[in-house]
Symmetry: C2
Subunit: 336 residues, 2 copies
């Protein structure tokens, strides 16, 4: 099974290698190659079942028609959905996507960037970890197109696409207040990343406007631990705060842990406590009762990020940095 190359085609079609290359790449007309020759080359290529070597072409051009997608955790539904849409979009423009998960591990994130760099991807879409600002600056300096998604660094000159997190939790909190809830808690993680801070801020501001903010009603969970530990922490927090009558979970895995905590505590939802979580998830639709969520505009985020990346890839010297916030959707279910 010897590989068919443009040389084989050239010989068989009795033209030069360059002519074959031009025709294969659709530059036949531009190069003023006669229609007859174009047709002949195409026929021969077809007959020999020619497949271009991406590797050889990459080595020559320095381009791979691939993009690297670094997410926090591909087994989290939110990121899986995001990846799926990004992959589909990329496929439409004939790009391949390499995905990988950081697990919110800072060293691993670094490694992943390096390894994608080594694989020579043409551009990056990244949900950064906390330490990654410098690495991203380095990519920019290397003229590598980058778009950040879901989270970002406030003062960095890099395009990003994220949900309007502040607005999402502000609106959800206001909704709970309008329902008559007075003692509203929030569960955040300890990451301190901007998207989480903004979610908390939306909650905080909404309560402060009503003069009912209480800093003791904020629980911080550790991302880097197992689910049981999160459940236990949630249980003991709520045991200490029996007055709480509503809660906002700032990410789906915290919501999932919270629901298990409430089951242990035998809380009735929404009678004892109203529940809203960030990020929609199968389990929220299936839970008894069904759980209200602030759903992310996954499709919009994916499409916009590919657009921004493409604009950098086609024209690195003169593109505009865009910082895009897409509105989420409050989906009301039985839990409120």
């Amino acid at each position: 099974m010897k590989r068919i190359t443009i040389k084989d085609i050239a010989i068989k079609a009795e033209v030069s290698i360059s002519t074959v290359s031009f025709v294969i790449n659709g530059k036949g007309e531009k190069m003023a190659i006669s229609p007859a020759v174009i047709k002949k080359v195409q026929e021969v290529a077809q007959k020999l079942d020619y497949r271009p070597s991406m590797i050889a072409s990459s080595l020559r051009t320095g381009k791979t028609r691939s993009i690297g997608l670094i997410v926090e955790d591909i087994s989290n539904q939110f990121f899986a959905d995001l990846a799926r849409v990004i992959e589909d979009e990329a496929k439409n423009i004939d790009y391949r996507v390499f995905y990988c998960s950081t697990g919110d591990d800072e060293a691993r994130s670094e490694e992943l960037v390096q390894s994608l760099l080594q694989a020579n991807v043409d551009g990056f879409i990244i949900t950064p970890t906390k330490n990654l600002e410098k690495t991203i600056d380095m990519l920019i300096k290397m003229y590598k197109p980058v778009v950040l998604i879901d989270r970002y660094f406030a003062n960095q000159k890099v395009s990003h696409v994220a949900m309007d997190n502040y607005d999402g939790s502000y609106e959800a909190t206001k909704f709970l207040i309008r329902q008559g809830r007075k003692n509203i808690a929030v569960v955040n993680n300890k990451s301190g990343m901007i998207q989480m801070k903004l979610r908390e801020k939306g909650y905080t501001e909404a309560l402060k406007e009503e003069g009912i903010y209480d800093k003791d009603r904020v629980l911080y969970l550790d991302y880097h631990t197992n689910e049981q530990t999160r459940i236990d922490a949630t249980i003991s927090f709520f045991k200490n705060h029996p007055e709480i009558d509503a809660v906002l979970f700032l990410a789906n895995y915290m919501g999932l842990a919270g629901l298990q905590a409430f089951r242990k505590l035998e809380y009735k939802i929404p009678e004892d406590i109203s529940v809203i979580s960030f990020d929609d998830h199968d389990s929220f639709k299936l839970h008894t009762p069904t759980i209200s969520v602030i759903a992310q505009p996954i499709e919009n985020i994916a499409i916009k990020s590919i657009q921004l990346l493409m604009s950098q890839m086609t024209n690195f010297s003169d593109f505009t940095i865009e910082k895009v916030l897409q509105k989420g959707t409050l989906i009301l279910r039985e839990s409120v």
Copy 2:
């Protein structure tokens, strides 16, 4: 930012290009290069922050140190978990994994194989669609290592790793019978793929042994449809069969649809109906009541498949075809 190549190192270290290449690839000793030279080359490489071009080396050697992983749907937890373990295992032996989903679309599966072939992956791990037998034969003919997972073609000479599906559902059904259930239904899809047939067969045999098999208690759902349609089909089936007192769902997405159907029907689990589903899933642990499952040995499947693939990759002319079945685990929760 010019790229650093072995040529730069050769010049700086004042040795030949070949010497650099040998040292970089750890063949210095074998080539009897003096320790002093080895050390010098390594130091220079380090200082210049040299990164080998995978692309150039691939072009030269024909190897890419990558494997293609084709699953049915990466956003399904079972496949996501499988992919995660496979990726970790591959990383340990310094291989990269490209994953993609067929969506059980036969044309797309073909395309994916072609596109991975074009990317020159060194080996394939595939959950095949129904039509893929010929394509896989072609890979074998091209001397491309292949391992099938989750499903396979009974008479094909290709290694595979799957769960012992027959045993899994046989044991689960026997368990339901021992619990005193008499009218046990099963929900399958229409794919007709071997793993689904075996799951159904385990159920059928267990019931036939007791003389209580009834072919009217088998429901077939369509994979290629939306969840609501599956829920509706499940509801109408159970409405027509009020005598059913237990059910086995043969894949997690059917189980998830089933639970929503039961909620609509206001069935009490397990009082009205005992429930066991294939494939564990977050939602099953979180459901009220928690749902019993036949969990797949995901880690074992992943590890074994990489092992089999590696044995083919290192020695294609003389490896043994292995057909491996790993036992699943019946996890009993509140639903039975």
